[in-house]
Symmetry: C3
Subunit: 327 residues, 3 copies
């Protein structure tokens, strides 16, 4: 299947410099593009690759137009990466047009669940009583949305997602031998806004007394844990395998890497960035980039340094003592 450059700019805008009748049959990175692909340059550091790119057409920003001109056909646009993203959407739409609203016959939908007629509910999904699914939202296969949980419009939930399992709440009861645990029923639900994407096998627990809230535009990757009563501010993104403990509030526009662990009852300021694999045990009140992970080393070196680390406080004291003697 092929589309012409004319079709591209007609659909997505930008100014085409080249042959509007030229056909492209695929999308590719600068390096991997063949002569019938369309590619893009989002990062100035790949400028060198631009000259050698074999693509039929390249999407560039205005200040790279001169370089692109020497190479061949190109489309100029202010945000080439956004343009490319929209092109992937246009491309997918051409190849596999979005299905009209539908509920797969294998899905188990409670009679008290409410599904917008434009929503797509995939195979073997479960919607419990009181679940609500908004307009144009797509649930891929095997998604559970439990009692009274709400998913907004234009959301995409991938396979295996669980919305509204019980939060992890137990009251400690002292017994003769130790603590037993009395279940605290989780009486809240989950509210998910519009334009939210949730990755495969990610879990968002229902609130204990009030609701867990995911605001508009949030993007969650796979295998993420969102504890009860958490609130995630709009347009925040979280990469895979991260875990947020209960009652933590993440501000809007945060960028949280993969494998990040955030303790419960914290507040993270809007626009905060947290590097992958970091552990957050205190609130962050000032936006910035934060990191905390042990640097990788060859095993032997790590072993020596890790052993020394267990004496670090003592080493500091010895250094202080030496400094004093030396004055």
């Amino acid at each position: 299947m092929a589309i012409s450059l004319h079709q591209v700019v007609e659909a997505l805008g930008g100014s085409l410099h080249g042959n509007p009748h030229k056909q492209v049959t695929g999308l590719a990175s600068l390096k991997q593009a063949e002569s019938s692909d369309i590619s893009f340059l989002s990062n100035v550091k790949y400028e060198r690759e631009l000259a050698e790119c074999k693509a039929a057409c390249v999407i560039v920003s205005p200040h790279l137009a001169a370089v692109a001109e020497k190479r061949g056909d190109y489309i100029v646009t202010d945000q080439p990466y956004v343009y490319f993203a929209l092109l992937t959407q246009f491309w997918k739409q051409q190849h596999t047009p979005k299905s009209a609203g539908s509920i797969h016959p294998s899905a188990v939908v409670d009679t008290k669940a409410v599904v917008d007629k434009t929503a797509v509910i995939g195979a073997l999904c479960v919607l419990e009583a009181g679940a609500r699914i908004g307009a144009n939202t797509v649930l891929k296969s095997r998604v559970t949305v439990a009692e009274n949980c709400v998913v907004g419009d234009n959301c995409l939930l991938h396979s295996g997602v669980v919305i509204g399992a019980d939060g992890f709440g137990f009251a400690p009861h002292k017994s003769a031998t130790g603590l037993n645990w009395v279940k605290i029923e989780q009486l809240g639900a989950v509210q998910i806004g519009n334009d939210v994407e949730i990755g495969a096998n990610t879990c968002i627990d229902r609130g204990a007394l009030h609701d867990t809230v995911i605001e508009d535009g949030v993007k969650l990757d796979n295998l993420i844990q969102i504890g009860h009563n958490v609130r995630i501010g709009r347009h925040t993104v979280i990469a895979a395998a991260s875990a947020l403990a209960g009652s933590t509030e993440i501000g809007a526009y945060c960028m949280i890497g993969g494998c990040v662990s955030i303790a419960g009852h914290l507040t993270i300021a809007p626009h905060t960035e947290i590097s992958g694999a970091s552990v957050v045990t205190h609130s962050i009140h000032k936006a910035g980039t934060y990191t905390g992970l042990f640097p990788l080393d060859d095993n032997a070196s790590w072993g020596k340094n890790a052993a020394a680390l267990k004496q670090l406080s003592a080493l500091r004291d010895r250094l202080r003592k030496l400094e004093k003697t030396h004055k």
Copy 2:
């Protein structure tokens, strides 16, 4: 829906100081309670919030009765948090009475599986041959209990749980280019005791030769990995996204935070506490609280300290040398 304070104390005990006919329509924290809610005070440090709390009634311990008296209606009980937990159970029972034993018609139950007649098997669950589900146990939607695995009485397994996938066992076979892996069939199963709760998408692998065992009263949060041959002692709790490698034995009454990683073939003493995001590579023979995680810092500071950390052992040697010279 509303219940009276009389109904509360009739069901749960405690001594009511106030109007037994007063109706409450919700449960809430001290801070968020409205005038028709019931609330509780579990922690003395929230005593100030008690005075300002708008709730219809507050559950307190005996030594806070005097403070509560000044505010309005209250119930006195020895363990307010446990009382509140029981109240959430009573509340849920009033609003959505527990269903009688049932197997959802969409569940796939092998003819050789045994399900107690009081158990509830949710939509799209899979029970393989030899699986056994005990009395009053509830499997939410999309739970798998594989061949010969046993779940006791009064358990609650959340959506997406997988009980009895194969443990990760392979024998290394030397080839000319490197190690190939020969599968070790996992001939054991999983035994889960009574009163166990297991969170969404958590996995408990079957044992290699014997069984993986989860004792009575254990509470596991979401997205936890339990390797083959593990044993978890009674009433131990583990928060979300933790992973226990094969053949490790966790004692009774432990409290393990979220995102904790525990290596294989270890023994953890009863009553041990492990902070979230810690990594355990050696057995713990003495109960206590253990921690090991890199503190978060702004990215630039982290970078400098992490670089220095890779020379820490050398720094220690230099300090020693300096100390010797200085004697």
Copy 3:
């Protein structure tokens, strides 16, 4: 059910020293073996346990034959652990013969999916259009293989696995208040080679423009995240709860522990070993064993050392200064 030692060596080779008619009714470790079990010795350090082992027969390597002789019946083979692995396979085959190719009636298989007639598709699996499943491959219950994803021959995918969810790709779009995210449709798929095992609830995302690739013989444990465009080289093993970010390439024959986090766009050399819970933020060009994790300590000691760690770079500077003064 019992098998004779004669049946064992007839099926698996090795030289039997003992009574070929002796029946064994179970497999067990040296320590746990009863008098009707068969056991094995893979590691010289357990030689002491060999003498005391009660098993009906023990599998040993040639240099331990003399020790085994004193104890009772034994089988000699070059690689006892591999022999034992093959014995578990033989054992399982005797007890629960592999089913012929079949698709469980509850599975949802698109008319455009292609399933080899010898493959076994378990209960409540979902195969979308263009999915291909190879010969003798087994999908346990509740596995999703999404559009155009390919699984080779002799693979085993455990319950809850999701193959081909969208990779996590969004173009940042500047708005007045912060970054919004424009979805990049993921136009690639997932290619899985032969002899691959994938653990419960593990997710492998489809590529953005090209395919995510898992080569022959790879073994992945439970709850692993494989990002889009990743390539994992043949016979590499990865333990549970690890996460690989997008576009990273792992060489062949690597051994990656559990809870390992690997950043995106990295290259890991073949034959590399990474210790559990380590974080990899740079490419590894030289094979070796690498580690990076904070050592566990009692909470108080950890607190002191972690505090000092935040001043480590400054401590190094102070030490340098002291050294200079001292020259």
